[in-house]
């Protein structure tokens, strides 16, 4: 992962996997994963403070081995204000240009989906525990759903 920094005076930062390019996953069928996120460093009160990282936008995209996007979870309210809600793109027929509403989706949920339903081989045997712990932390401290 590469990130653009932690300066709170900058309104928005980025953190991306593999320089923003898709990553090949060990899976059958072969799949590619793209992870792009924006975040802000904001002041927070109490247990959250004095500073916290706040997600500002995300794209989690799954592609086939030819690089064709199969589906993608998006939330980027500043980039496309007309679609300011978390949404799902399914690249199939008439659905391709539809922004299907979803709740907020975490990266942990995408990784769990890949492992449990799309036959991606986990790197660690204790993947379930690792994902559960970080998901619990995320849910405890996030300020919107």
């Amino acid at each position: 992962m590469v990130a653009s920094g932690s300066d709170p005076s900058n309104q928005r930062h980025a953190v991306v996997l593999n320089n923003g390019n898709p990553v090949s996953l060990r899976s059958n069928p072969p799949l590619l994963l793209t992870v792009l996120m924006h975040y802000k460093i904001v002041q927070a009160q109490g247990q959250l403070g004095p500073w916290k990282v706040s997600t500002a936008a995300y794209i989690y995209a799954i592609q086939d081995k030819q690089g064709h996007e199969l589906f993608a979870y998006h939330w980027h309210p500043a980039s496309t204000p007309q679609y300011d809600y978390p949404h799902l793109h399914v690249h199939s027929g008439i659905l391709a240009k539809i922004h299907l509403p979803t709740r907020r989706i975490s990266l942990e949920e995408i990784l769990r989906l890949l492992i449990t339903q799309l036959n991606v081989k986990p790197l660690k045997r204790e993947w379930e525990k690792a994902l559960r712990e970080t998901q619990e932390t995320h849910q405890k401290f996030r300020t919107w759903d």
């Binding site: 590469v2 980025a14 923003g20 990553v23 090949s24 996953l25 060990r26 986990p122």
Partner: protein, 76 residues
């Protein structure tokens, strides 16, 4: 976040710190934005940033556009 998925190739991970990520300098970020804008949209990073801010990118919700637009905080 700890890595739990097997990646065949993740460029730059060797340079990443113990937390699994590397903070790019402004210059490195500008190079990344320029490289990806040329790769996905066949324009330079500064040209993309200029057009994006002026809302002159057609169909900005296209995957290849969003892929570059997400890199603007690195050097746009």
């Amino acid at each position: 976040m700890r890595s739990v998925v097997s990646f065949d190739s993740v460029k730059g991970m060797k340079k990443a710190g113990k937390n699994g990520y590397k903070v790019l300098s402004r210059e490195e970020g500008q190079k990344l934005l320029d490289r990806q804008a040329r790769r996905y949209l066949r324009m330079s990073g500064p040209e993309f940033a200029r057009k994006w801010k002026a809302k002159k990118i057609e169909n900005p919700d296209r995957p290849e556009v969003m892929r570059v637009a997400f890199l603007l905080p690195f050097g746009g």
